[in-house]
């Protein structure tokens, strides 16, 4: 019996020592490769920088050894992307990426492991590799699992302005609100317009699509969609009304401010809060007293929004000082005091 245990312990120890030796060998090799890469980068990066800036007309030669050539270019071009290159220079970076990296990414999409494929998708997007548009779309069609690969793949399709993706997105009921917004942000003007028109025509779009659409319109202040968003204030669904109110805060205007009045007395505290926010965003002087009334609301967030948006007005501080001193409600006095000293400093 004891022999078995001794055998097990020493065999496991032996296996571990073997793995340790392999890991150490691997680590030493990697450290050497990293040092080598660092040295090559120090030599090549300034040369490529000159080429991108146009001060050097001929593209610098890469090391003869193919090993690490890809990694070197990927790292270097990625670093260039974070620098302040614009216009033609940026286009040159994309061209270099297309020339040196696209083929590798094409192979990875077909045969790479999960993590390698995702990394490839990240860089295809960063380098705007339009030459891989078809491959990425085909890859998207093959993905069945809704994981990081799926999410990144649709982001890349949107970045590469793949119209077929937007068709699928409009039809889909599974895409999250955040994901749809991410896609909308990536579209160029033509594809965006086409997508928005199609969405307006379709009657049974998913709620997430509708929310994303309303929010995106406000965040981008798209004029042609303003009436559509404002109309949604009358929607039967609370969430749609809230999204519309939030969107109008970005527009900072309302064609018919009278609609807002009803929201100050809404049974839903979120609507009372957004009524306060909209009043501040649009500077509706006529609703200032409603904001003061909200200071004694039974929900903290409404009181806070009321006070925060009183402060937006020219005489806001004065109104808050008055509320802090005279308001009959203790919560209202507290929130007014809080707002007055929110940026630091004693009450005067």
């Amino acid at each position: 019996m004891i022999g078995i245990f001794i055998g097990v312990v020493f065999s496991l120890l032996g296996i571990q020592l073997l793995i340790l030796a392999l890991l150490i060998g691997w680590k030493m090799k990697n450290l050497a490769a990293e040092n080598n890469m660092k040295k090559m980068m120090e030599i090549l990066k300034p040369q490529f920088q000159k080429y991108i800036e146009g001060t050097e007309p001929i593209e610098p030669a890469l090391p003869v050894a193919k090993k690490n050539r890809f990694k070197l270019m990927e790292t270097m071009l990625d670093e260039f992307l974070t620098e302040d290159f614009q216009g033609e220079q940026k286009a040159k970076i994309h061209l270099l990426a297309d020339k040196h990296l696209a083929e590798h990414y094409r192979r990875v999409l077909k045969k790479g492991q999960w993590a390698e494929r995702i990394n490839a998708l990240y860089f295809i997007e960063d380098f705007r590799l339009f030459s891989l548009k078809e491959e990425v779309y085909q890859h998207f069609m093959k993905i069945s699992k809704r994981d990081e690969e799926f999410r990144q793949c649709i982001r890349v399709c949107a970045t590469l302005q793949e119209a077929r993706l937007m068709d699928a997105a409009i039809e889909s009921r599974d895409l999250s609100f955040g994901m749809i917004k991410e896609l909308l942000y990536r579209l160029d003007e033509d594809l965006l317009k086409m997508t928005l028109e199609r969405m307006q025509l379709k009657e049974d779009i998913s709620e997430n699509m509708l929310y994303a659409f309303i929010t995106f319109s406000g965040e981008h202040q798209i004029g042609m969609l303003f009436p559509f968003v404002e109309r949604k204030l009358r929607d039967e669904r609370k969430e749609v009304r809230l999204k519309a109110m939030s969107s109008l805060c970005y527009y900072k205007e309302m064609a018919d401010p009278a609609i807002l009045l009803g929201f100050f007395g809404s049974e839903h505290w979120q609507e009372r809060m957004y009524a306060a926010k909209l009043t501040g965003a649009c500077h509706f002087e006529q609703y200032k007293q409603n904001l003061v009334d909200l200071l004694s609301d039974n929900v903290w967030w409404v009181r806070f929004a009321g006070a925060e948006n009183i402060k937006v007005f020219k005489d806001g501080n004065k109104m808050l000082e008055q509320a802090a001193a005279d308001h009959t409600d203790a919560y209202a006095r507290d929130i007014a005091k809080h707002m007055l000293t929110r940026e630091g400093g004693n009450l005067t």
Binding site: V9, L20, A115, G345
Partner: protein, 479 residues
């Protein structure tokens, strides 16, 4: 009972302990096998590219970072500095000075230009009285609350009351976060559109690392064996244990050093429990309980990236106090939620996690300590056959040293945060020595912790912080 009867009895106990330890070791291996496919799958993933989008996305949920601080004058400024440097689109930092008797507040006030503000806070939970609040004039998203002492849980509850955002992160005042820590930890929440309700990341020990103004500049090993062993222990806990549990949504611990939570869910379950020393685990168990009671599909996840660095106790006394406290906290939590044990209503939590924490994490120390006496009794006094004593020793080596050594190999295979070959060798050799000294110490303290839990005796002890994050300490270390 006759002499032979006693010997037979001890032999039976011995085989039971051997069987128990083999089973516990096997469970660790199963957890490792459950975790390793994910580790392997994500090993080559470019983590930087993964969060690039989130750092500029307007829909990345804003978050409140709560820093409960009690006598943290040595490290609080560096902790806050590391938080101010975080890569995250919208967040606020709330330092809660829980009635410190040292200069914690003065340090924050002086360093960040704090000005007093009037309070109008919500009271989701009743907490110790809030005395004053300040806001930084240099960093408008930095706040300091001063309250009367009520313990860490009470300070966190006060922070939740004060916070504005829908998610909060709790971080210890003696820890620092990596620049992308929040983004990485929030990623599962954002990707799942809120289906993940709490996340925790891997915590690493900062002792020995070169830190400059709240940023880890170079990862290195400390010199003290006690500190090195804690590094190995953390590898084992985080790389082998937690990921395995998280994979099947039965994780019961998110480290108190750093975790992110959905505020509304925490408010719903009543916040942190103030009458336990294990408030971090207790909250997670309660969250699981509420999720299962509601038949909700929400999850609690652990991310494997090393994101938070913390200062480990460097003296025997402070380590002892910490371990006794942890053991007591574990015992209290398991006792509070004993109704979940073997309760099929709570599925994996009731049928696997809870029994695991009771029989492996809580009670293993008793079995191991009994094993020490049997080994000594067998080898020195021939109370049992020498063979049994040797087998028990070998099993302890398997369960202690070889599993920890495996964790060291796993760390090198995955994150290889320690940049030199020498570090790996040192860690591996230390791991092999674990059974013969470190584990013995831990087990005796854990047994003590159990007694204290029964007697409800508190041992907070003194952490004796070196302030490994403070600039002054760094200068002294490098002299």
């Amino acid at each position: 009972m006759s002499g032979t009867g006693i010997t037979v009895f001890i032999e039976i106990i011995s085989w039971a302990i051997i069987g128990y330890m083999l089973l516990a070791g096997a469970i660790y291996l199963v957890l490792f096998l459950v975790a390793s496919p994910k580790i392997n799958k994500e090993k080559k993933l470019n983590r930087q590219e993964q969060i690039e989008e989130m750092s500029i996305n307007k829909d990345t949920y804003p978050i409140s970072i709560l820093v409960p601080a009690y006598n943290e004058e040595a490290g609080v400024v560096s902790t806050v500095r590391s938080l101010l440097d975080l890569n995250y689109p919208q967040y606020e930092i709330i330092v809660v000075n829980d009635g410190s008797t040292d200069r914690t507040s003065e340090k924050v006030l002086a360093q960040f230009g704090m000005e007093p503000i009037e309070l109008a806070i919500r009271t989701y939970f009743k907490t110790g009285e809030i005395k004053r609040a300040y806001r930084s004039t240099l960093h408008p998203h930095l706040f300091l609350i001063e309250k009367e002492n009520g313990g860490k849980a009470d300070a966190l509850n006060a922070g939740i009351n004060f916070s504005r955002y829908p998610y909060f992160a709790a971080i210890d005042g003696d820890s620092i976060l990596e620049q992308d820590a929040l983004l990485k930890t929030m990623k599962p929440i954002i990707d799942s559109s809120g289906m993940v309700t709490a996340t925790g990341g891997t915590v690493r020990i900062a002792n020995g690392c070169k830190i400059n103004r709240g940023v880890i500049e170079q990862v290195a090993l400390p010199k003290k064996p006690l500190e090195v062993m804690q590094i190995i222990e953390y590898f084992r806990a985080f790389l082998i244990g937690r990921l395995g549990f998280s994979r099947v949504n039965i994780l019961l611990i998110i480290s108190g050093a750093f975790g992110v939570f959905e505020k509304s869910r925490v408010i719903k379950v009543g916040g942190y429990k103030t009458d336990t020393v294990g408030e971090d685990m207790e909250l997670i168990v309660r969250l699981h309980r509420s999720i299962k009671d509601e038949k909700s599909k929400q999850r609690i996840e652990y991310i494997q990236d090393p994101v938070c660095w913390t200062e480990a106790p460097s003296t025997v006394a402070s380590l002892r106090a910490q371990r006794i406290r942890w053991q007591r906290g574990l015992a209290e939590t398991l006792w509070t939620h004993r109704g979940m044990l073997f309760n099929p209503k709570y599925r994996g939590i009731g049928l696997f996690s809870m029994p695991y924490y009771v029989f492996i994490e809580l009670l293993s120390a008793i079995f191991e300590v009994a094993g020490y006496f049997i080994i000594i009794g067998g080898l020195a006094f021939s109370l049992i056959e020498t063979d049994i004593a040797v087998i028990m020793l070998l099993v302890m080596v398997l369960y202690g040293s070889l599993l920890s050594a495996l964790a060291v190999l796993l760390e090198e295979w995955t994150y290889h945060k320690y940049p030199t070959v020498k570090s790996i060798l040192v860690l591996y050799v230390y791991a092999l020595t674990e059974t013969f000294w470190y584990r013995i110490l831990m087990n005796f303290w854990r047994v003590q912790g159990l007694f204290y839990a029964f007697k409800k005796k508190s041992v907070w002890g003194d952490m004796e912080r070196k302030g490994v994050f403070s600039d002054e300490a760094q200068k002294e270390e490098s002299l």
